[in-house]
Amino acid sequence: MSIFEYAPAPESRSIVDVRPNYGLFIDGEFTDGTGAPLKTVNPATEEVLSEVATGSDEDVDRAVRAARRAFTRVWGPMRPADRGKYLFRIARLLQERAREFAVLETLDNGKPIRESRDVDVPLAAAHFFYHAGWADKLEHAGLGPAPRPLGVAGQVIPWNFPLLMLAWKVAPALAAGNTVVLKPAETTPLTALLFAEVCRQADLPPGVVNIVPGAGETGRAVISHPDVDKVAFTGSTEVGRSIARAVAGTSKRLTLELGGKAANIVFDDAPVDQAVEGIVRGIFFNQGHVCCAGSRLLVQESVHDDVVAALQRRIGTLRVGDPMDKNTDLGAINSAEQLARIRELTAFGETEGATCWQPEGELPGRGWWFKPTVFTDVSPAHRIARDEVFGPVLSVMTFRTPDEAVAKANNTTYGLSAGIWSEKGSRILSVTSKLRAGVVWANTFNEFDPTSPFGGYKQSGYGREGGRQGLAAYLQGDN
C-alpha cells in the first residue's frame, strides 16, 4: 500500500498571547493566589507555557464569598431575560475568539487542533447559546411553576475537555440563576483563565463566575466549603466517591460525571467500513482521554477477523504527532502521569495474555506520546477489559448472540455510554433498551449536543448535563 505523505500544515500560535503569569479570577478581578503557583506545560513539547497562581483555602473562601454576594445582590434578583442576554453575549464572544481558544486549548492540552477547532470550542459556544435561551423559560422546564436557583455552585472539572467541561458546568448554572466557583484541572487551566477575560468583555457582573486554579487540595476546598450549595464534578470515579463522602450529611446537592468503560458492539450485518470509522472515532478521539470512549470493542465472532483487519489498516493511516498540525489525528498524552498510567495498564494487557498490536511509525522525541493500540484475545476478566485506561487503547472481545453482547456490554461497574452497529432497526432498539448506559450511539459514536442530556448509570455517576433534564441539577422546584 502506498503511503501519502502530507506536507506539514501547522496552525500559527501567534493568535494567542500566552502570558507568563496568570492569577486567580475572583470577583471580576485577576488577583494573586496564596497557594503554590503551578507551571502549566505543553504536553507535545514539555515547554512551560505559563505560571499560574493556585487557590488556598483562604482564596477559595474569598471566591465563595464573592459568589454569594453576586448571587444575593445581582445575579439572583436580575431579570431572567437579562441573565439570558449575558449568556448570549458569552456565546458570541466564544465564537468571535474561537481560533484563539482552539490554539490555546491545543497548546495546553495536547489535543489535535482539528478537534479543539471543530469540536471543543464550537460545542462550548453552543452550550452557552442553548442555555442562554433557558434563562427566562425555566418555568417550562418541568420542575414546577417557579423553580428557584440553588445558590453558589462549586464546580470541579477535568483536563480532557477543559473549555467544553467549563461550558457544561457554567452555562446551566448561570442560566438557572446560580453563581459559580470553578476549579479547572491542574494541567489545563489556561482556557478557563481566557474565559475569565471573556466574562470581563461581556461585562458579566463581578462574582458571578470565579475561577480558582489548583490541584486536588483546591478542589477539596471548593467542594467542602460550607457556603457552597451545589457541587458538580467531572472526573475519575475514585475522586467522585470521595466527593460524595465529603458531601454526605450536608444539604449540598451533588451531581457526578465519572469514568466509563463503554462497549462498542459490532453485529455481523454492520457495514464494516462505517463501523471501523466509528470504532476509530470511539477510542482515538482526543487520544482516548474521553470518559465515554468506546474502549471495549465487542465484535460478533463471524466478522471478528474482517473487522480487526480493516481496523488495523485504518489505524495505519492515522497520523500521530504535532497537535498544532491540521493533519494530525492523535495528539499528545496530556501529562507524564497519565502516560505512566496508560503504560502500566497496557503492560497488564500483555502479561495477562492479550495480544498487543500497534502501527508502525516513529513518535516524536520530546513530549508525551502513546501509539494507538489494539488488544485482541482479551477476556472479560483482564484489567484492560475492566479498568478505564483513559488513553488510545482498545480491547477487542467477541460474542455470538445479541444476549451475549448485552451481557458482556453490561458486565462493568460503569455505565456511561455504549455503541451499537447494525443495519437492523429492531435489533438496534432492542439492544439499546437493554444496555445499562446513559448514552447509546447507534451507528455513530462520540456525538455531543447541548440539547442531548449526558451522564451515567451505575458508577459512572448521577445527574445529567444538557437538555431540559440537565437543568434539574441547578434548580429546586416543587416538582
Binding site: 414546577g144 454526605a248 450529611g249 445499562r436 456525538e447 449536543d449 440539547t451 451505575k458 437538555g467
Partner: protein, 288 residues
C-alpha cells in the same frame, strides 16, 4: 362475643415472593402504642438483606421490561386488593400508631389512593421526563427515563402504612425493584402489605419487606455493590449521614430524609419518582 379462641397470624418477612422467617431465627416483640403485646415479628439479619437483594436483582429484568401499561395495571391491582382488606389495615395502623380508628381508616384510604396515583404514572413518565433532542446534525436523538435498578428503602418509622406506600410506590412505578426495611417499632402493616402484594400480580422479588432494625440492616444495604440507590426516609440523622457516606463507595443514588418525617398526605409530585430514574439518550443517524 363468641368464646372462640382466635387464630393469630405469624408475622414473617416477605422475600422473593415467599414468607420466610429470618434465617437467623430471631424475632422481636412488637407492642401497640400503649405497650401491650401484639406479635413477635421476624428480626431480619444481614443474610436476609443479602438474600433480598439477590431476589430484587433477579426480578428487575422482568419488572423493568414489562410494559408501562402492565406495571400500571399491577399497581392498580394492589389498590384493589388493599381496599378489600382495609379494615384489617386500619386495625393494625390504629394499634401500632395509637391513633383513633377513624384516623387510621383515613390513613389506609390515603395509602390506597397513593397506589392509584402511582399506577397512573407508569405510562406517563416517558412523555413527561423524556424528550426528543433537536441536535445540530443529521441525527435523530431522544432521551428516555429508565429505572435505576435495585433500590434499598428505609421506610418511615412513624407512618407505618401511608409512609411506607408513599416511599415504595414511586420506586415500583418507575420500574425499579425494592428491598424495604420497615418501621422498626410498627412493622405489622408492612407484613400485611406483603400479603397484598403477593396476591396482586406483583412478581415475586419485586418487593422484599424486611422487618427489623434499620440501624442494623441499613449499613449492609448502603454498602452492597448490587444495590443501585437508597432512600433514607426512615434513617435518623446520625445514621443517615453514615449510610450516605457508605453509599458513596459504590456511587449509589441517595435520597436524603428531611429532618422531620414529612406529612405523607401532601401531594408528592414527581419528587420521589425522579431520584430513582436514569435518563438514557440515544442517537441514530438520519440518512438514506
Amino acid at each position: 362475643m363468641s368464646d372462640r379462641l382466635t387464630v393469630r397470624k405469624t408475622y414473617k418477612l416477605y422475600l422473593g415472593g415467599a414468607f420466610p422467617r429470618s434465617e437467623s431465627g430471631r424475632t422481636y416483640e412488637v407492642t401497640d402504642a400503649k405497650g401491650h403485646f401484639l406479635a413477635n415479628a421476624a428480626r431480619a439479619s444481614r443474610k436476609d438483606a443479602r438474600d433480598a437483594v439477590v431476589a430484587a436483582r433477579g426480578a428487575f429484568g422482568k419488572w423493568s421490561g414489562a410494559t408501562a401499561y402492565n406495571r400500571g395495571q399491577v399497581l392498580y391491582r394492589v389498590a384493589e386488593v388493599m381496599e378489600g382488606r382495609a379494615a384489617q389495615f386500619a386495625e393494625e395502623v390504629a394499634a401500632g400508631e395509637g391513633i383513633s380508628s377513624s384516623r387510621a381508616r383515613a390513613e389506609v384510604d390515603a395509602a390506597i389512593d397513593r397506589w392509584v396515583w402511582y399506577a397512573g404514572w407508569t405510562d406517563k413518565l416517558a412523555a413527561v421526563l423524556g424528550s426528543t433532542n433537536p441536535v445540530a446534525g443529521p441525527y435523530f436523538g431522544f432521551s428516555l427515563p429508565e429505572p435505576t435498578g435495585v433500590v434499598a428503602v428505609l421506610a418511615p418509622q412513624r407512618s407505618s402504612l401511608l409512609g411506607l406506600v408513599s416511599v415504595l410506590g414511586p420506586v415500583l412505578a418507575g420500574g425499579n425493584t425494592a428491598v424495604v426495611v420497615t418501621s422498626t417499632a410498627r412493622p405489622l402493616p408492612a407484613v400485611t402489605l406483603g400479603e397484598v402484594l403477593a396476591t396482586s400480580d406483583v412478581p415475586g422479588g419485586v418487593v422484599n419487606l424486611l422487618t427489623g432494625d434499620a440501624a442494623e440492616i441499613g449499613p449492609w444495604l448502603a454498602e452492597h455493590a448490587d444495590v443501585d440507590a437508597i432512600d433514607l426516609a426512615g434513617a435518623p440523622a446520625p445514621l443517615a449521614m453514615e449510610l450516605e457516606r457508605s453509599a458513596a463507595g459504590t456511587v449509589k443514588r441517595v435520597l436524603r430524609a428531611p429532618a422531620e418525617e414529612p406529612d405523607w398526605t401532601a401531594d408528592p409530585g414527581l419528587s420521589r419518582l425522579r431520584p430513582f430514574l436514569e435518563t438514557k439518550s440515544v442517537w441514530h443517524p438520519i440518512g438514506v
